[in-house]
């Protein structure tokens, strides 16, 4: 603290002439203000364009025919708009011997994401509630292990999980993958719910206890109705996270259950046949569409979710 104050003083003296000049400039605040604005808005606009560029190129490419792609440049808008690449990506693109398009991966992803999101949130919310309001001896120890475990690279735990799932007879099935998503979603979700429930006024909980309500009654009648926002945050986090997963999909399922990301990668990076860049880009957008929709619809809640999710790394 002291050193900062000292610095201020020194800086203050050193820049005395400069501050006189600043005084001269001060008479025309409009101009300096607008020059600053030009720098700020100019930089931000350029950056925004850079961020938007890949999305633009994806869309534009997906609407062109292959002949046009071969002669033109990737930034040019399509001369002739065609939706054929989209149709082809959805229903005809090939992975290996299957030529039924990305639709199969899409429905697989739906069948993976929906139960995974529901189960992982159900388990983690009850668990977070137990940790926040019904602490028992040893609970904090397991919770600490859970949080520390979130930093362990998945690669370290993959093979033991394969063995456990094989013993349970669900290796290679959707059920197995759903269990895996529930396991790896647990640290962040439990943390999220625990912190949220711990932040609710304790009097509510105590009053309900005095009235004779038990564990589940309090959860369903008091906690659940009061915490809809955090459930939405958790859903956003899980839907995007599970939809975007690649590693677990490729390790824990058989090819007929591959999620959309895995199938997309197989379609685009397959070495057979002529590369159809327009179909590839249409397929890429299709795969990104679900998380993008969630993102644009949810807005601020998404930011809240990743701020919480960021803690897990």
């Amino acid at each position: 603290m002291d050193s900062i104050a000292d610095n201020n003083m020194v800086v203050g003296y050193e820049t005395a002439p400069a501050s006189l000049m600043a005084g001269a400039r001060g008479r025309k605040p409009r101009r300096t203000l607008s020059r600053r604005n030009i720098i700020v808005y100019g930089t931000l606009t350029l950056v925004a364009l850079y961020y938007l560029l890949p999305l633009y190129v994806m869309i534009v490419t997906s609407l062109k025919g292959m002949p046009e792609i071969r002669v033109g440049n990737i930034f040019a808008p399509p001369l002739e708009i065609t939706f054929e690449p989209w149709v082809k990506a959805w229903s005809e693109a090939c992975t290996g011997l299957n030529c039924d398009g990305l639709s199969r991966g899409f429905w697989n992803s739906v069948r993976i994401t929906v139960p995974s999101v529901i189960i992982s949130i159900a388990i983690a919310s009850v668990n977070g509630y137990a940790l926040a309001n019904w602490r028992f001896k040893g609970a904090d120890l397991f919770f600490t292990i859970l949080i520390v475990g979130a930093f362990i690279p998945y690669q370290v735990m993959i093979y033991p999980i394969v063995i456990v799932l094989r013993e349970l007879g669900v290796y290679g099935t959707l059920t197995g993958l759903i269990i895996v998503h529930t396991i790896f979603g647990m640290p962040i979700l439990t943390l999220l719910f625990r912190n949220y429930f711990a932040g609710l006024p304790e009097e509510l909980f105590k009053a309900a206890r005095v009235d004779g309500a038990g564990f589940w009654t309090i959860y369903f009648k008091i906690m659940l109705p009061m915490s809809l926002p955090i459930f939405v945050v958790a859903m956003i986090l899980q839907v995007t996270g599970i939809w975007n997963d690649f590693l677990f999909g490729v390790v824990f399922t058989r090819p007929e259950y591959y999620p959309m990301t895995v199938q997309l990668n197989n379609i685009v990076n397959s070495v057979q046949g002529v590369k159809e860049y327009n179909v590839n880009m249409a397929a890429t957008i299709l795969t990104g569409l679900v998380p993008l929709t969630v993102y644009f619809v949810s807005g601020r809640l998404f930011v809240r979710g990743i701020a919480a999710g960021a803690v897990k790394g």
Binding site: I4, V11, F75, V126, W134, V148, N244, T261, T284, G313
Partner: protein, 302 residues
């Protein structure tokens, strides 16, 4: 707190709070069986010569010796180091500068944030494939610049093993800097307005206030962000698979891909276990000092 609940405690310790214990069974199983058990299992089996199936025949450090003699592993580590250092540096600097710009009480802040953060909603597979297309030397950025007149312009990272890792870096930064910006912005918003007033009164230039006062005050945010990015970097896998599949040749291999390939494709489990244990060690080197600083002192609160 405990005093109150103790008052109504029943004699049987195990049945007390039974519902909470039942509700915590998934957590306990995950923590004990998967996180602790699974990790220990992998570490133990990394000292065996398991091939197709895990077998408990110990061979000491053989797998590790083989690992560190393998060119592919050395390239993976080198790539991870270069990629890691550069992406840490760039994402912290770019993220902070963007956050500082966003903190100038600008209009359209929401629009800018929405644009900068949307890539983070996309998967690494999508990110990798888009940038594979943008960096395509025949149609992508290289050909555009050439068609503008600079015919000798060469930027084909995905086909040039010397610079391929930078091609992946560009994609990774596009995907991740929005998040860093958001974290930094939250940190900046947490700074007391009076600090700014004081520095303005003293006539300190804005950049100097940032460098000498604000950044040191945001040390916590920086460290947290650093840990988040770093532990993400160690896991980088999907992006490489989608963008280059490790190529050209083995020029863009990364440790996570080495692990996967040896476990599930080369059927050399021992190598996979040894490599994944090395990943664990790397993460521990990053996390343990941070956790010690962050929580070592904070434990008193309980």
């Amino acid at each position: 707190m405990t005093g109150l609940t103790r008052g109504s405690a029943r004699p049987n310790q195990w049945l007390r709070n039974l519902n909470a214990k039942i509700a915590s069974i998934p957590m306990i199983l995950t923590a004990v069986v998967i996180f602790v058990g699974g990790t220990a299992w992998t570490v133990v089996y990394s000292f065996t010569n398991s091939k197709l199936l895990p077998r408990l025949s110990f061979v000491g450090f053989d797998q590790y010796e083989r690992l560190w003699a393998a060119p592919r592993w050395l390239i993976s580590i080198q790539n991870l180091a270069v990629f890691g250092l550069l992406s840490l540096m760039f994402s912290l600097v770019i993220g902070f500068v963007l956050a500082a710009l966003m903190d100038q009480k600008i209009r359209f802040e929401n629009t800018f944030r929405t644009i900068m953060l949307y890539p983070f909603a996309l998967s690494f597979i999508v990110t990798g494939l888009v940038w594979q297309w943008l960096l395509n030397p025949q149609y992508g950025i290289q050909s555009i610049v050439r068609s503008l007149g600079w015919t000798s312009f060469a930027f084909d990272p995905l086909y040039n093993s010397n610079i391929v890792i930078y091609g992946i870096l560009i994609a990774a930064l596009w995907q991740g800097t929005g998040l860093v910006m958001c974290l930094m912005l939250a940190g900046l918003r947490g700074i007391d307005e009076d600090i700014w007033k004081a520095s303005r009164v003293d006539g300190i230039p804005m950049w100097k206030t940032y460098v000498l006062i604000i950044i040191p005050m945001m040390r916590g945010v920086f460290i947290t962000t650093l840990v988040i990015i770093a532990s993400g970097i160690v896991k980088v896998y999907d992006l490489v698979v989608a963008q280059t599949s490790g190529g050209p040749g083995i020029a863009s291999e990364v440790p996570a891909k080495y692990v996967y390939d040896y476990m599930f494709q080369a059927q050399n489990l021992g190598q996979g276990f040894a490599a994944s244990t090395m990943m664990l060690v790397t993460v521990a080197i990053i996390i343990v000092p941070w956790a010690y600083l962050e929580f070592g002192g904070g434990r008193k609160r309980g």
